[in-house]
């Protein structure tokens, strides 16, 4: 337990560089900023429509995957590149603890950033509309999407130096092109899992409104929870197996 906490907290510290926090912090404020800008130019459009536009077109499909990709790919990838992986694996601790702790550290940072963005957006929306009911659902949706993306990108960062490129290809080609065309694959799309969790917790009218933003194929909150949990467990298991079997230098 002590070792797991030490790895998790060190991972968080590694991933929270000052420059990175400034850049990502500003990026996370972008949806809220755009929402405010639209208040000036598209005042006639309903606040909820503008919010859902931000959520379904900017926050989930772009911001969450890109921020999480960069954070999660570094969690194990930087250790491998910097030669510090030997520091971790040559210790009397099971490889599963390393995999779980690195995953945990990456989730804390990625989800923390994405929740910050979600809260900023829904607070701006709340100030304008007087409704605060979307703060928690969007934060939870952002957290779910962050967990699923982290599950994919932590092992990816370990496998390849081009994790960011491969991750972007996954997001833009697979998720935003292939899955958009084949809605049956939507349960394999992390941001759609997050969007489903958001829709599942949000008031009924939000779910109905989301249909206009391509949310017709969204699953239930329970299904989102199941997929998030399953993908995270599979990812930790796969990372553990790789750490056990693969040559690490």
């Amino acid at each position: 337990m002590r070792a797991a906490w030490a790895i998790t907290s060190t991972t968080v510290k590694q991933l929270l560089g000052v420059r990175r926090m400034i850049v990502f912090g500003l990026a996370e404020l972008a949806p809220a900023g755009v929402f405010l800008l639209m208040t000036q130019t598209l005042a006639q459009e309903a606040a909820l429509d503008r919010l859902l536009g931000m959520v379904a077109a900017l926050y989930f499909p772009l911001l969450v995957p890109i921020v999480t990709l960069i954070v999660a790919a570094s969690a194990l990838g930087d250790e491998r590149r910097d030669g510090t992986l030997s520091f971790l694996v040559l210790r009397p601790i099971p490889r599963s603890v390393i995999a779980l702790s690195k995953f945990g550290g990456a989730v804390i940072v990625a989800a923390g950033l994405n929740i910050f963005g979600a809260v900023a957006l829904t607070v701006v929306y709340g100030i304008e509309s007087g409704s605060w009911s979307l703060v928690v659902p969007l934060a939870v949706g952002g957290a779910f999407a962050s967990i699923v993306y982290t599950s994919l990108f932590v092992p990816l960062g370990f496998f390849t130096d081009r994790a960011v490129l491969a991750g972007l290809a996954f997001v833009f080609i697979f998720e935003n092109a292939v899955v958009s065309a084949l809605s049956g694959l939507s349960s394999l799309s992390p941001w759609r899992i997050g969007l489903s969790a958001f829709a599942g917790l949000a008031p009924g009218e939000v779910k109905a409104e989301l249909a206009e933003f391509g949310g017709a194929s969204l699953s239930s909150f329970g299904a989102s929870l199941f997929w998030t949990f399953l993908i995270a467990v599979l990812s930790i298991g796969a990372t553990t197996m790789v750490l056990r079997r693969r040559d690490l230098a």
Binding site: A3, T10, K13, L90, L248
Partner: protein, 312 residues
């Protein structure tokens, strides 16, 4: 009682016919050797396979063929053995965002050390890094980082210490300090394996040498024993005398002398039996009325031995 100089009586680390290849490239080839208490130098030119061998010993990479055992087990499947193993890798392997104290403390925590603070302070003190211990490793020189890595390796008080080029980047004072530290750890009965391509370093700190050339075990034992085993290569002796040419001519008549040369007034003699030559030269010198002022084997040093090994 083993007669193979590559093997030791009470091994803590063993390689049995171990090979490692990466695609077509053979990095280590059929190496059988063992290591026990004391300092063993793993010697070889750059690219000889020393780092690959050390990585196999730690379980970081698995042998393509043969086996590796540390305290009787293959470490990859028995991670508990890492309580007794410390590695100082050649590459950077430090976290720049941590201070040296945090780094060593992190190592202590992961190694399951009971009193983390005490062990951290002791390890930092051992490598004489107390004063800058609370500065970030990003600002450390290479030599200071090396010492921080040594402290992290020592913090769990390991029985086996594997050091890959540990003196790289250290200044002469740090170098002396680390060499005497490794010698002390070896004298305490720990297995200390030091890889280096710098002959002088290995010569100064090792009781025993394992020489690796092109991934193969080229020689093992202490330097004198390795040199003695090279029966196909004559010894060279440098003799200074007041009658060099006369002495050279007379020595050529001796059966044990393979050849002589005179260079800048210095006589160089080649022989297959160094001890016999040592006894014979004073006798011959008396016969020709020459006075010997210096008699020095030229190639009994580790450097000469190693030069021969690489040339073979």
């Amino acid at each position: 009682m083993t007669t193979n100089p590559a093997l030791v009586e009470s091994p803590t680390v063993e390689l049995d016919d171990a090979s490692k290849w990466f695609g077509q490239k053979v990095a280590v080839s059929n190496v059988t050797c063992s290591f026990g208490p004391g300092v063993t130098g793993l010697l070889g030119p750059n690219g000889a396979g020393k780092t690959t061998m050390l990585r196999m010993l730690t379980g970081l990479i698995r042998p393509s063929q043969g086996s590796v055992r540390v305290l009787g087990v293959w470490p990859r499947t028995s991670p508990s053995v890492y309580t007794d193993v410390g590695l100082v890798p050649e590459e950077a392997a430090v976290y720049p965002s941590l201070t040296a104290r945090e780094y060593v403390r992190y190592a202590a925590t992961l190694s399951g050390v009971a009193d983390v603070d005490e062990a951290t302070a002791r390890a930092i003190d051992t490598v004489a890094l107390v004063e800058p211990a609370d500065r970030k490793l990003a600002g450390y020189s290479k030599g200071m980082r090396q010492r921080a890595k040594v402290a992290a390796a020592l913090v769990s008080d390991p029985q086996i210490l594997l050091l890959d080029e540990p003196l790289n980047g250290t200044d002469p004072v740090q170098r002396l300090h680390l060499i005497s530290l490794f010698q002390r750890l070896g004298a305490e009965g720990r297995t200390v394996i030091v890889s280096s391509h710098i002959l002088d370093e290995v010569d100064r700190m090792s009781d025993r040498v394992i020489a690796i050339v092109d991934g193969r075990l080229a020689a093992a034992g202490d330097v004198a024993a390795i040199r003695e085993a090279m029966t196909d290569i004559p010894y060279r002796v440098r003799i200074e005398s007041d009658s060099t040419r006369v002495l050279a001519a007379r020595l050529l008549e001796e059966a044990l002398v393979h050849g002589v040369s005179v260079d800048d007034g210095i006589l160089h003699v080649e022989t297959g039996d160094l001890a016999a030559l040592g006894l014979r030269v004073p006798v011959v010198a008396r016969e020709v009325d020459a006075r010997i002022t210096s008699f020095q084997p030229e190639d009994a040093s580790l450097e000469s031995v190693f030069r021969y090994l690489v040339r073979r």
